[in-house]
């Protein structure tokens, strides 16, 4: 197993490291969180639209991080990382989304109005 790449530092995954990429991920991640924080603290929108907007901001931040921190792309070194992520992400969204949906309807149908604000 030691053959192949004689110098481990020359391995393509080591060579993926990039100062600029990490800086972009940092700036975008922190910036997005600051904007979202400002929107929430300042009560800039109605609760429903605020929820939607900060979710979208988080989505953008996560996508930027995934791309610049993990270099998820279709290159031969990274393709299987990307494929496994693409297969996991829908399961993540489904288990959260479907759960909230089913319990939301459950509460509506089984709880007294006003007792549970769900």
């Amino acid at each position: 197993m030691s053959h192949g790449h004689h110098n481990p530092i020359e391995h393509p995954e080591v060579q993926l490291a990039s100062m600029g990429g990490y800086l972009i991920a940092f700036v975008v991640g922190l910036g997005a969180m600051l904007i979202a924080l400002w929107m929430v603290v300042g009560h800039t929108l109605s609760p429903v639209s605020l929820t939607t907007v900060i979710s979208l901001i988080a989505l953008v931040a996560v996508i930027v991080q995934l791309y610049f921190l993990f270099k998820l792309d279709l290159s031969s070194t990274q393709i299987w990382h990307t494929v496994s992520f693409v297969m996991t992400a829908p399961l993540f969204v489904m288990s959260v989304g479907l759960t909230i949906w089913m319990f939301h309807t459950l509460m509506e149908r089984t709880m007294l109005p006003g007792v549970c604000t769900f």
Binding site: M94, M102, F103, L106
Partner: protein, 701 residues
């Protein structure tokens, strides 16, 4: 921080004081205890008399060879299968006796011979053991044995992790077995009905056994899933493109994707329950903002994918067995692959159908109902593909093919009743009736059939000799008769309104059918006798049944048949180059079946290590300590696990190289073995270990 407990607790012994109140004079427990003691004593006696301790340690306990790890997985599964079968026997007997107010009662039970609390533990143990500790280890074991050879790899991607997964699974099994005698087991059903599993309603250690056993075992399964996926992605031989990957490897991939992503959710469900029971949080309580359906939800987010995690490898077995005995390539390879992946995906979208009656809106129920029905499409594609594979094939029916046929029939009946259950309107009627029980036993039996078929099919590959055909067929037919007699009455009783988990049946009119079920389980018991006889006779006559050459069935197709039976520990002397989807069939058709390469190369192999076994032992202490709330022992074991892992990370001496000359010598030995007719000692597993005789010396290098 910690909850107040009922009963004694001491800082040194935790809750072990509870044991003083357990009545060990119950004959059922006493019989089980004796069985284990006698079995253990025989094993220890044999190991000592035959001077096998060193052999056990070197060849099995510390091995990282994927074939041996697989064999041990199957062994764990088999032991637990017997345990689960005994539980089934007890359930069936109780329900056959305890019918109507006039039915007799013995051993402290008002009716039958099992008091309700004991009966509840038996069915809980039966369900949990059969699914998580019998079927799962057997399937993981077979994947472990077959997949690396099938894709032309020398071992799994992470041999060390592989051993760790095995030992964690063994710890899970050990904890359940310990629960038989030390304390009690959960009585809340294998799904763990909340809030019954909460501390106020289950103050004993039973639920804690259930939690920690599953938790530790599922970590093992997750590690195994990482390993198998990485192996399939990274370790394929040259030429083994995705379009040539055998269907069993594809289904292994699909099923392990499911395991990888779903087991953590089970971990969350159990962890939250643990917090409820240990520190008094309010996740699944009925009061203070708890939501007990949330446990059911999280459990089935795992539970439904888990069903496909176990069924997909079974589909893979069928896809390997049927073409070999039809002497045709699999029909519709591409659709087979797509169907496997589709089943994997759809399995994630259907979990609410386990609790349609929760009361979610019609919209939610309709969505999950339709999603469930969608599963029928890829499964149907598979059934037709198998049928077309057999169509105009040159069919033979040795035991593996018989099991495959049985599996196919069960898939069709089980699938059809599954479609019925996917309709919420029907589901509301038969929810928690034994109709549902018959349905999912039907599905699990299809897996069991496929697994028995696969074990018979690959047995000569792993051990170098075939299983006895005559006894194998008797085993099959008695098992099948048992299946019919148990489950046709059970389906019927479901429609008649009998609910599941009854320790006392009030309708005397159901008794004839329950007695039929009892007759069925008697047939099952007979089939088990034939199975044991088959093993014994086959091992006794192993020299007579020895397989010469790599291809045990004469018409085998995939790459695992392109190496010796049994394969040497390095699998292939030189890594094969793959030219075709059915590489071995291709080589046979072109007359290229010689296993002798032009020259040999050095082979790089991992060294044996005792670290996984050590971590397993520490996990057993940890689990036991957490169950009995012996905090110091839990802390020490957890710390020790972390320290062992860190120390091992400094170990650079984990691999070794076998020189080409040694490989050449070992290959020559294997090739001459058939001719020389030596009477070498080949015990169980001696096949897989036989070729290890010489390299063992090298371990210390």
């Amino acid at each position: 921080m910690l909850v107040d407990l009922q009963g004694p607790w001491s800082p040194i012994f935790g809750r072990l004081g509870l044991l003083l109140d357990v009545h060990y004079n119950n004959p059922v427990i006493f019989f089980a205890f004796q069985l284990v003691v006698v079995g253990g004593a025989i094993a220890l006696f044999w190991l000592t008399c035959a001077n096998r301790w060193g052999w056990l340690w070197r060849e099995w306990l510390t091995t990282v060879d994927h074939k041996k790890i697989g064999v041990m997985y199957v062994l764990v599964g088999l032991v637990m299968l017997f345990r689960g079968f005994f539980d089934a026997l007890m359930i069936r007997t109780q329900q056959a006796i305890a019918v109507g107010p006039d039915s007799p009662g013995v051993l402290g039970a008002a009716h039958g011979y099992l008091p309700p609390y004991h009966f509840d533990q038996v069915f809980t143990a039966h369900g949990m053991i059969m699914i998580l500790l019998a079927v799962t280890p057997m399937l993981v074991g077979l994947m472990n044995i077959v997949v690396p050879i099938q894709i032309g790899a020398r071992d799994m991607a992470y041999p060390y992790l592989n051993a760790l997964g095995l030992w964690l699974t063994a710890v899970a099994a050990a904890l359940v077995m310990i629960a038989l005698f030390v304390g009690d087991f959960s009585h809340a059903g294998w799904v763990g009905l909340t809030p019954l599993t909460e501390l106020p309603y289950s103050p004993g250690v039973g639920v804690d056994y259930y939690i920690w056993s599953i938790q530790i075992g599922s970590i093992g399964t997750t590690l195994g899933a990482v390993n198998l996926i990485a192996t399939i992605i990274k370790m394929r031989a040259p030429g083994m493109t995705w379009g040539r990957l055998p269907i069993f490897s594809w289904t292994t991939l699909a099923s392990n994707i499911i395991a990888l992503t779903s087991f953590p959710v089970l971990g969350v469900a159990l962890a939250l329950l643990t917090f409820d029971r240990y520190i008094g949080t309010h996740f699944f309580t009925a009061d203070l903002g708890g939501n007990l359906m949330m446990y059911t939800n999280l459990f089935w987010i795992w539970g439904h994918p888990e069903v496909y995690f176990v069924v997909l490898p079974a589909f893979g077995f069928l896809s390997e067995i049927i073409p070999v005995f039809s002497e045709k390539p699999i029909f519709g390879y591409v659709t087979m692959v797509l169907a496997s992946m589709a089943i994997g995906l759809v399995s994630w979208t259907v979990w609410l159908h386990h609790f349609f009656t929760m009361g979610a809106s019609p919209g939610v129920n309709s969505y999950f109902s339709i999603a469930t029905m969608l599963v029928g499409i890829p499964t149907g594609v598979k059934v037709f593909n198998w049928a077309f594979t057999m169509y105009r094939g040159r069919l033979r029916f040795p035991t593996p093919m018989l099991w495959a046929m049985g599996s196919l029939f069960l898939l069709i009946t089980g699938g059809t009743t599954g479609m019925m259950l996917s309709v919420p309107a029907i589901n509301y009627l038969v929810h928690n009736s034994v109709f549902v029980i018959a349905h999912f036993h039907n599905m699990f039996l299809l897996i069991a059939y496929a697994t028995f078929g696969a074990v018979t099919f690959w047995w000569p590959k792993v051990f170098g000799f075939k299983l006895d055909e005559k006894l194998g067929k008797l085993f099959f037919w008695f098992f099948t008769a048992g299946t019919l007699f148990v489950f046709i009455p059970m389906y019927t009783l479901g429609f008649m309104g009998m609910t599941r988990r009854l320790d006392y049946v009030s309708h005397t009119s159901w008794q004839p059918l329950l007695l039929l079920e009892l007759f069925g389980i008697a047939l099952y018991s007979l089939s088990v006798v034939f199975f044991l006889a088959q093993l014994a006779v086959s091992i006794r006559d192993r020299e007579k049944n020895r397989v010469t050459g790599p291809d045990a069935w004469g018409t085998s197709r995939s790459l695992e048949w392109a190496t010796h039976c049994p394969p040497p520990f390095y699998n292939f002397a030189v890594t094969p180059v793959v030219h075709d989807r059915d590489e071995w069939a291709w080589r046979r058709e072109h007359g290229l079946i010689s296993l002798v390469p032009d020259r040999y190369l050095d082979v790089h192999m991992p060294k044996n290590t005792a670290v996984p076994l050590l971590i397993g032992a520490l996990s057993l202490f940890f689990g036991f300590a957490m169950i009995w709330r012996i905090w110091w022992l839990a802390g020490v074991s957890l710390l020790a696990i972390i320290v062992v892992i860190i120390i091992r990370s400094f170990d650079k001496d984990t691999d070794y190289i076998i020189p080409a000359a040694d490989i050449e010598r070992m290959e020559a030995e294997i090739l001459n073995r058939g001719a020389a007719d030596e009477t070498s000692d080949a015990p169980i597993g001696g096949g897989a270990g036989g070729a290890l005789a010489s390299p063992r010396k090298r371990d210390g290098d």
